[in-house]
Symmetry: C2
Subunit: 157 residues, 2 copies
DNA sequence: AGTTGACCTCAATATAACTTGAGGTTTTAA
DNA sequence: TTAAAACCTCAAGTTATATTGAGGTCAACT
């Protein structure tokens, strides 16, 4: 029985093992702990020990980050997981739905943005009178030529 | 003729005007200038003056940032604009194509990620033997239960 | 001509998300 | 049993992207 097997059957993982398995540095795990994204307890020698579900938590954190979600938001969402017991299939599933909705939103936002970029930057009209997009839906008080960004929506005027 | 009209017909804009029109702070324009994202010249009193196309540049910078593109990458792309003359419709259009491709890539990435999250986190199997997704496409050497993130692809094992 | 608002520079501060390093302890394994 | 590897804490450093403030100048209106 090798070291990692032993750790796994005992279900208390060392920080080095978790780092290796989850692909993050030990310092990152320390950092996440100070941010209350993960938890550990200590052995007699004051070393951290983790339950195996920390691996899933870290994977979820990384996936959420890849979606552009901040650690603070991630912490809030992870907080919806049960405190007293190991998360179940249903718990993770609920989380998944949450991320999924967020991703859908982002994708939609990106698509709108892409279309705007296509329409407005691509248009390249460079002046108010000749901009078909601007002339189609005119709602800016200021009629000078130029460009503005309103609420993350690109508008060239 | 009010102040902004005067500035526009003279085609040299003050930093305050550009800030107001583009929706960023004066300090941000200073900052962008140190990063070579925008340019200005100085009047007799050492104050910045801008050509009107700076408004479009700033709008493009903001739009690109909203896509998750870094200022460094934006600078590189903006560098493809002509140095010697004011960008034309064709110039901006080329830029647009560049962003659009990037956005398409990101959207695809997000969609794949969402599907993974749906499939893998949502699956919630919590163990190797029962994970249909893992069992379908098994390419990890390590067969212990847990979770890893490989190349931004979420994989639970 | 004088006051007020806009501008200037440069240094410091802010936030997120980590990383690095120093100095010391614990665990593991030959 | 002892040396190496892994761990500990705490402070400082890092990168990106700005923002704020101090101390001083310039421009615009009355």
């Amino acid at each position: 029985m090798d070291a990692s097997q032993k750790k796994l059957t005992e279900a208390n993982l060392t920080v080095g093992y978790v780092a290796k398995r989850s692909g993050v540095k030990v310092s990152t795990l320390h950092f996440y702990e100070t941010k209350h994204l993960i938890r550990s307890w200590r052995n007699n020698g004051n070393q951290r020990r983790y339950k195996p579900d920390v691996l899933r938590r870290v994977a979820v954190i990384k996936a959420a980050q890849a979606m552009g979600i901040t650690l603070d938001e991630i912490k809030n969402t992870l907080a919806t997981l049960p405190d007293n017991r190991t998360p179940t299939k249903q718990d993770w599933s609920a989380l998944s739905k949450h991320w999924q909705a967020q991703l859908d939103e982002q994708i939609t936002h990106m698509q709108r943005l892409r279309d705007r970029v296509d329409g407005c930057i691509g248009c390249g009209c460079l002046s108010l009178k000749s901009c078909p997009i601007y002339n189609k839906d005119d709602h800016l008080g200021d009629k000078e030529s130029g460009a503005v960004l309103l609420n993350s929506e690109l508008i060239l005027v």
